[in-house]
Assembly symmetry: D4
Homo-oligomer: 221 residues x 8
Amino acid sequence: MLFKDYETIVFAGDSVTDMGSTLPVGDSPLWDALGNGYVREIDSMLNAFYPEVHVRVVNSGVNGNTSTEMLERWQRDVLDLNPDYVSLLIGGNDVWRQFDSPSYTGQHVLPDETEKSIRKMIEMTVSKVKKMFIISPYFMEPLKDDPMRARMDEYGAICKRLADEYGCEYVDFQGMYDEYFKYRHPASIAWDRMHPSRVGATLMAREFLSHCDFDMLHKPE
Amino acid sequence: MLFKDYETIVFAGDSVTDMGSTLPVGDSPLWDALGNGYVREIDSMLNAFYPEVHVRVVNSGVNGNTSTEMLERWQRDVLDLNPDYVSLLIGGNDVWRQFDSPSYTGQHVLPDETEKSIRKMIEMTVSKVKKMFIISPYFMEPLKDDPMRARMDEYGAICKRLADEYGCEYVDFQGMYDEYFKYRHPASIAWDRMHPSRVGATLMAREFLSHCDFDMLHKPE
Amino acid sequence: MLFKDYETIVFAGDSVTDMGSTLPVGDSPLWDALGNGYVREIDSMLNAFYPEVHVRVVNSGVNGNTSTEMLERWQRDVLDLNPDYVSLLIGGNDVWRQFDSPSYTGQHVLPDETEKSIRKMIEMTVSKVKKMFIISPYFMEPLKDDPMRARMDEYGAICKRLADEYGCEYVDFQGMYDEYFKYRHPASIAWDRMHPSRVGATLMAREFLSHCDFDMLHKPE
Amino acid sequence: MLFKDYETIVFAGDSVTDMGSTLPVGDSPLWDALGNGYVREIDSMLNAFYPEVHVRVVNSGVNGNTSTEMLERWQRDVLDLNPDYVSLLIGGNDVWRQFDSPSYTGQHVLPDETEKSIRKMIEMTVSKVKKMFIISPYFMEPLKDDPMRARMDEYGAICKRLADEYGCEYVDFQGMYDEYFKYRHPASIAWDRMHPSRVGATLMAREFLSHCDFDMLHKPE
Amino acid sequence: MLFKDYETIVFAGDSVTDMGSTLPVGDSPLWDALGNGYVREIDSMLNAFYPEVHVRVVNSGVNGNTSTEMLERWQRDVLDLNPDYVSLLIGGNDVWRQFDSPSYTGQHVLPDETEKSIRKMIEMTVSKVKKMFIISPYFMEPLKDDPMRARMDEYGAICKRLADEYGCEYVDFQGMYDEYFKYRHPASIAWDRMHPSRVGATLMAREFLSHCDFDMLHKPE
Amino acid sequence: MLFKDYETIVFAGDSVTDMGSTLPVGDSPLWDALGNGYVREIDSMLNAFYPEVHVRVVNSGVNGNTSTEMLERWQRDVLDLNPDYVSLLIGGNDVWRQFDSPSYTGQHVLPDETEKSIRKMIEMTVSKVKKMFIISPYFMEPLKDDPMRARMDEYGAICKRLADEYGCEYVDFQGMYDEYFKYRHPASIAWDRMHPSRVGATLMAREFLSHCDFDMLHKPE
Amino acid sequence: MLFKDYETIVFAGDSVTDMGSTLPVGDSPLWDALGNGYVREIDSMLNAFYPEVHVRVVNSGVNGNTSTEMLERWQRDVLDLNPDYVSLLIGGNDVWRQFDSPSYTGQHVLPDETEKSIRKMIEMTVSKVKKMFIISPYFMEPLKDDPMRARMDEYGAICKRLADEYGCEYVDFQGMYDEYFKYRHPASIAWDRMHPSRVGATLMAREFLSHCDFDMLHKPE
Amino acid sequence: MLFKDYETIVFAGDSVTDMGSTLPVGDSPLWDALGNGYVREIDSMLNAFYPEVHVRVVNSGVNGNTSTEMLERWQRDVLDLNPDYVSLLIGGNDVWRQFDSPSYTGQHVLPDETEKSIRKMIEMTVSKVKKMFIISPYFMEPLKDDPMRARMDEYGAICKRLADEYGCEYVDFQGMYDEYFKYRHPASIAWDRMHPSRVGATLMAREFLSHCDFDMLHKPE
């Protein structure tokens, strides 16, 4: 498996990452400090299936964060934690406000600014860690004609482009959900098409770990 | 205007009608008893713009109701209130559970049962009131390829067919929203695409009142 | 309509404006941040009836504010928001404390001070915005012999005089309510004769918008 | 003083009598069981100024009660308590609903019904007690042109007429407040013009006790 | 009556004065800001019986205050309010802690320190006000053999001596209660023998006002 | 020690026994079900010092109970639990209401009724258990001139007389407190002189156990 | 995979199964109705990894249930739900009370009674379902010298014996935990050694599903 | 007895000492300021059995403290209180985190650091007090093969060694519990094997006081 004994991975992001974790940073396995989303599921699978490896999982998600706000707290809430690995899932709110609050342009983060912020976060990080994961923001709408889905795809393309440019590992949650929605309707995962149920968290955890040489059937001998 | 002094209109339905009203029936203008949705907006417009006419507005919405459950409480929560007019908006949950809880078939209400229940409610009512309104259930998804939207349209068609058959007034909330979504994304009205914000409630109130010979500019002379 | 795409209007005032909005300033359409009074109704009508125009509505009301307190926070809570339009409804508490707390003269704001504060707020603002609205404070007591109503009329006259002097748009909520109370008793709008029910909010919104070339029947073609 | 050692007086009424007392009947001096209105003040003055006399004061007020509802619980909540004296203050809600909920006629209690109910309560009671007090319902509006005040006066007249007819003691709270409002505005007692502050409760207590041969200066020798 | 139009009286003290008033200073007649003890009763009697005189009553009691703590906040919470009259009731906690927390000597305030603090407060005040009232601390224990009662009497004697020395008005709550307990047991006023019920508050208010040329029977002509 | 392995002792009484235990009967050592008073302390000492003996302790105290109310629930809340030992501490409220609520005679339980009720409880019990304990009600007032203390002593004498008559074990909490108050003031145990602090609970537990051949120094060998 | 489209599996048990699910039966995927324990994880894995199969998962766990109490509600809470599969995990509380409440023998369920109850539940069920799972109760104490662990093993042996006798599928949670505790201390899963963290829930879900021909790597093609 | 009139003892530690006491320091016998653990029991026994001696007991426990964190607040929360005696019970969390959060090494306090911190606290203290007590940290696991118990014993040995080196009084809670668990299972004291029930608090109090020349049978003559 990718992660070695006593390494640290920090998951940075917005409410989709946070999901009730301790603010600003959930850095303990106790008292639901890691929240109830995909970060918790990843932690559960790591500890359940690889008990012989000790990985420190940290949840650095904060509700409502845009990429601009994520950048502002990057040093304090990510780098200062001395991670060996960093995962970044951001951009959802950059897009969402354009559609749920269209008159409040001060809350919209346009593609250029998003790209600039993510680029900056990568540059601050990539040389200091063993690997950086860039996760695509997603909208649980499989119909690509939906304007918010189309807009989200623009931001996902930025993420993919930057990941490639800097040699980060790109994790495609949007693509994973597109596959899933061939069988189930998005309402079964999230009424608001953003914040996943536990089923969604499990899907996201497995998808993420598939990029980490993680064996779902592993037991220590 | 359609409604005359001291007449009563009862709005029956599910959570979209209820929106925090007193349970099971909100029968007072005080203390938010009428909830915060389209029923409250209709009441506000009636009282604000036609103060010379006194209309008793009653909210008989209950969260989560399917058409089957609506029928079960029809006598007690609608007819026993001696309405002059009745409005029915039902069917949303009949469809929603098929998509957010696909494995729990016991919670699904299929078209035949929905039709039977609505027919029964109309037959119990139509001869006793001056007019009955049948409102289309809706899904705030303008893309008709979405399977839940497509399914909702089936139920809307049932409502329209029954309204025509029995001479009820058909109010097309789905069509009204389709027009609106040419200009705004559904996320601006409802993240879950079901429970309207106050903007949605205002839209729905104006649409309903447009079937009632109601003049938005009226002032008593 | 008066407001153009992506313009901002800030509504300043006391509890009648605030009505549960985010403090000190409600600057988002989400989570009831705009409160439940006339500001919310104006926002709802703007968004519901003119979806092709995007107007940013901001609620800058704070419970209990006198004109003195409003002036103190004017720069931060109004001008710093870069409004294109500003509306001011103040003075109610200046008067009310004279009648409900007659022995506590430190809480009374007398006409001279009120006039001086409103004049100052107008002068700080009028050259920076496209239009400033001055709304009359009101007391929902149609009998002009009532001493508090008589006193409130003095303050309303100050507002009208200043609006005329500086070319502001004067909106007469007191006159609008006087008309309404020919048909209904004040108790139907507010037991305390100050804080309007949703019916009152709807009345106030329509009155305000009648000064904005707003068409209640408008739909985008 | 009128009341003798170990006699019981029951105060019946609506929210003005109740004021937070234990429901349905506050029959203890402990834990605010007597509420915070005029009944509590009367109890305080009795116990403070006449410690050598032990009077059991019972609060049988229930929020929102009309005269119809008061009659329904008369046997259980008044007569079954074996009072030596009974006080009745009712009718406020009979009138109020006609003005704050004008479209909801089912909640209005018209003069004939009010008279019938009060007459019935008197007849059930008067021969069983040493004295029955009938208190006028009131509206804290000194201007008699106000339609709700005018209407309240009709109900006050009914109370006075019945008190005279049956030899009950009539206590004129409306008249007492009219005197008071020559010096203070109603807003100083009650924003809603119904539920008195502690100042109002003190006024009402002194007025009531002035019908009971009560000496405000009394100390036991 | 002693107090004239628009004069201010500040009541300073501990929890017996505070009784739920706004902290640190209750300076408004609204929203129970004056608490529920003797200060509130005095305010109620003043406003109810002398409506033609406007007296500003301020509650400057803070739970748990010893005389040492009272002195520390004297300038801010009493003198800065520009009183015409000041009342001080302190010392109860100085004594109580000696009996309920005998091992915690750091919380005990001994007679010398109490005397020094009260003297200091009088000296800071007496030349700036029309009259200063010194109220005796009390313990609702009529048996003078009780050691806490005996100790409290020492503190009361200090208060009386200082009042005499500086020409303050001495109000003897302990003596008043001693009279009352000839007829009733202390448990009827306070289980803890300190914090009075409303009956006690009424007793204390009448006692205090008897030092103010206040007529309980007064009505404005 | 008196109690043998797997025997049951039920403590019946009022709030002094209850002290937050599960209602009506605390029959588990978990989740504070035994409350926080002397019963809990007895349970703690039994389990801590005699771990080799398993005694089931049950708290059957209910707040506010008089002897009359205790008798009404005796069969259900005491005898039906199949105790080997029963302890009864009752009568405090019989007396207290005579002093804190002197006008409410319906709440007073006079000596004859108390004696009759306790006698009945003893007769229902004494032949079915190995031993019955009768504990004296007490008032934490060492001065016997206090009328409530004097009254409580009458009830204590009834308890002692009945205990002697029926061969019950009499436990004298009043006497134990009288001893204690030679060194400390009652305020150090209870401001209200009834409900003991944990210090009081410890005193009461040791006193009770001194009647049970319980060795405070015992350890299992 | 074992489960086919639209089949139902009911998980019966105590708090370990319940883990916050709706009471008495969590029969919906929405609103955390399935709780937060192993049942929820099984549901998440089923829906995440096999979206083409629709399995209705029902949580019928109730906190604190012993096998005796489980049997009492078996018909209503398990069989009446028409399951295709039933899983039973019971006995933990039968044992726990013997060690945390040793004096309260009425709460202990001894092996004979446990066996009788489980046998009865199996006999009521086994012929009506496609498969019944019997899960071993467990104690997260790997040291078999611990008397509670040893006792739990007796109950586990009963479960295994009955599973074999009736052809049920035996799932050995105790054995699975014993393996896990070779690498981690029990404190990492549960301070109380009973109620698993999410790591424990994930372990239990994988173990259970390994008996169901479930492929952790499955994706629908 | 060891403690003399008006001496102070401060109990420093983590959650086992804190048990709900006021934070950071519980320095009053009132309002549960001393918490509900062994400190409270010690205070209760001191006051109950030796009323003629006044000992100030202070609870300076803080939940979750490691020895490192205890050291950081030692000056402020222990020495600045001017104790005559100090008790220190620390180290439990140093060990626990190694087992319940094995991947989070930043939270582990290893033996060297623990020893250094405790040594520092002793050196800061021992010359300023009459006696310092060092209590062994403990784990309520009697089986010494358990790795967390074995680890805890290492820390206990450090404590003993340091106590001996500096002439402190060593109190062996681990040994006391080992004796107790010959008769009862740890689950009867604490499900989590750390935070004692009231039975455990009583055991710990008696054990501590046995080092203080305290006589459980003492009564003042």
